[in-house]
Symmetry: C2
Subunit: 86 residues, 2 copies
């Protein structure tokens, strides 16, 4: 499956969520990670997200069977090109 994760955390906890997501996915833009996951990885990731996220924070996971159905286009710069992503 292909997964896109977007997150909106308390400022000082953003790094916490980013570190969690980056263990499974690629950081592609400010609060966005994406990548291919197995069912087992997805199950573990969602459990860790549930344990981490606070009620006033938000994580949205978009899950697709695979990226064959996905067309991805970047406008402006690709943050992954110039390694602006920490």
């Amino acid at each position: 499956m292909y997964v896109i994760a977007v997150y909106d955390m308390e400022a000082e906890r953003t790094q916490l969520m980013l570190s969690l997501l980056r263990r499974y996915l690629t950081h592609v833009q400010n609060s966005v990670c994406e990548g291919e996951l197995t069912d087992a990885q997805y199950a573990v990731l969602t459990e860790e997200i549930e344990e981490t996220v606070k009620p006033n924070e938000s994580v949205i996971l978009y899950q697709l069977r695979d990226d064959n159905w996905l067309n991805r286009k970047i406008y402006g710069s690709d943050p992954m090109d110039d390694h602006r992503l920490i």
Copy 2:
């Protein structure tokens, strides 16, 4: 088609991109909009994004044929619930 738009703009230009995207899509999280578009709407939107975005900024459009292939899950709060989204 179903479209997810994520954007990373200069701080003072974030509202500019959000206003553009909200003419076509729903604002669902901090820098994320999504929704159903016709081919014609997609063509106009992408043209406007190209005219608006600066080289140091970034917009990623994820385009799916339709949302039948998409599973969407929210962890924490849904910003759309309590109208935190301006």
